[in-house]
Symmetry: C2
Subunit: 350 residues, 2 copies
């Protein structure tokens, strides 16, 4: 370990591996009653099952990696990188309708990273996890060429909602609104060429940089017993529809104008000047992704029951965007009598 | 996706992300009674807790990353890369004395990787996991600059053995033998300059390339109730002693000549020509690592009880290498009346 020349820019290689692990671990304090051994304390984290699972029948597990060169858009803060690494995993937990409870984070960090940068990443991890009652119980640190964050999240569920289960005649729904993160990306890429109010820029970029996983909504939907299939939309609505169609062996008829494009917050910040045609709403809502909403199907009869429907809509923002059709019909937009096949575009690594 | 020009070298970017996930997932078939949703099937894996935990009280979790530029020595095969990514995590599970049961793997893969390379990595993952009754339940695939494998392993335990717990007067023990992986690395680095029989080369390189996690031994040691503290030695004996000393707030007196250097297999392959002085046994056993053995302490009275001692030694190879001393004395080699402070060298990322 060399000597730091200034106090301002201390690098993690000067801190050393043990110093770094200690520094990070103490940010992840946990309830010792349930997590009897936490981050940095031993070879493994130790969780008291009876206390953690609270009677649930199933343990659910997911893992997801974010890395600087692939996943992080220009302008994202270190805090938001950390936040996103947790949120992307929580979104998968939400898509099963499970309760998240524990998280581990494997961090690949370049040697010349400033300590304050790592501190902020760690703060983002901690803030996102604790916002959803999830304990960061352990992790790993490796020297790497770029920042790589691999999270693994554990949750509990009684009735995990599968991707398979949608039936012909079911209604297709989404939580929240779509296209916010895509608008954020448009704003970054087009810069001043896109005439957008400052407040809209701010909100759209935050949607991209700091996605909100629908954990609460996932649990409500699973507990309702009405949902026949569910998936999250992190890679874009079109690809998520394709995955759901494949798993359930069905097709989808989509009413494009029912798809909630852009949040109320963005629309109201835009006021009278919003011209969606300038933005290509289909590109925003179907082919980009980054909004961690849930896509799910419910039995058509359920939604004919106004009481149930209203109760669900009171607890969360949700929109009916289409109907489940036989698999032979594929996935298409329906406008009046016209059917238009949906392109299968979205985020793919390979 | 482009068209493959030859059938021989098919690249994963031609296979596409969905094709790749399908190809990998079907290698990870699991017992559907316990793992109700496995790899590639949904947003999360789903595990029936009651069936998996078999009455154990604690869930243990660990995560560890291996990456090409940092962790993989020259000559390691793709199979062995996959094997190692599981073994490094199983070794942490073993160090708690826990039973591993589920594993997830996040793979960062360069786009131009050949499909057959990925197939072999996946086979290594599957073979190591199944050798230790561990189901690969899920994972993630990302495009990355180099091969990066982040595993997360779940296990169950009733009495997880901590690093804290060693008491002054306890005996210090290790499983198996040390320095085998270090010899393998020496052979690779020095090439023909090191005169070593072919069979020794083979065995030593395998020790480095395909480490054996001491899962069975960890469980026996934990179940014995005799072990006061335990840690694995993947980063070298010296650093593991330092970690254990810090956690237990003790010091260690080490009898260097009691440390089992090189396996019986290597020693017998070497026959009469073995000259340890040529190899610097201290460097091999203390300062390198790569042998996934367990370092543990037991109450001195336990080992005075010959019956117990013999039973444990019958079930595994283990050696007593020192005594726990007060923390003020630090960690030192004891030879006759002479004490020599141990250097703290070993593998560190930063």
């Amino acid at each position: 370990m060399g000597q730091s020349h200034t106090e301002v820019k201390k690098l993690i290689e000067e801190l050393g591996e043990i110093g770094l692990i200690e520094r990070i671990s103490k940010k992840f304090l946990v309830d010792k009653q349930t997590v009897t051994v936490g981050a940095g304390e031993d070879d493994c984290a130790v969780i008291d099952i009876a206390k953690a699972k609270a009677g649930h029948k199933y343990l659910v597990v997911t893992t997801d990696t974010l890395q600087e060169s692939t996943h992080f858009p220009t302008g994202i803060s270190p805090f938001q990188m950390g936040w996103s690494a947790v949120a992307v995993n929580l979104s998968d937990i939400a898509a099963m309708g499970a309760h998240p409870f524990a998280f581990t984070i494997a961090m690949g960090i370049p040697a010349h990273t400033e300590t304050v940068f790592v501190d902020e990443v760690v703060e983002g991890i901690e803030k996102c996890a604790s916002a959803y009652n999830t304990a960061v119980v352990g992790g790993d640190i490796t020297k790497s060429r770029e920042l790589i964050l691999t999270g693994t999240c554990l949750g509990f569920a009684d009735n995990p909602v599968r991707r398979a289960g949608a039936k012909v005649g079911d209604l297709i729904c989404v939580t929240g609104s779509l296209g916010n993160a895509a608008l954020g990306m448009n704003i970054i890429k087009k810069g001043t060429k896109l005439k957008v109010p400052e407040r809209v820029k701010e909100v759209a970029k935050k949607a991209l940089f700091q996605p909100v996983p629908r954990v609460k909504e996932g649990v409500i939907l699973a507990d309702s017993g009405l949902v026949t299939a569910m998936i999250d939309i992190s890679d874009g609505l079109a690809l998520s529809l394709a995955e759901l169609a494949k798993s359930s062996n069905v097709g989808f008829e989509i009413y494009e104008d029912k798809v909630p494009v852009l949040s109320e917050e963005i629309r109201s910040a835009w006021e009278g000047d919003l011209d969606l045609s300038m933005l290509d709403p289909r590109e925003l809502a179907f082919y980009f992704g980054g909004d961690y909403e849930l896509l799910f199907t419910v039995g058509a009869k359920t939604l004919e029951n106004e009481g149930l429907m209203k109760r669900m809509q009171k607890e969360m923002k949700m929109s009916i965007i289409g109907t489940v059709v036989p698999s032979g019909e594929g996935i298409y937009f329906k406008k009046g009598d016209k059917k238009e096949k949906m392109s299968m575009k979205g985020y793919r690594h390979f």
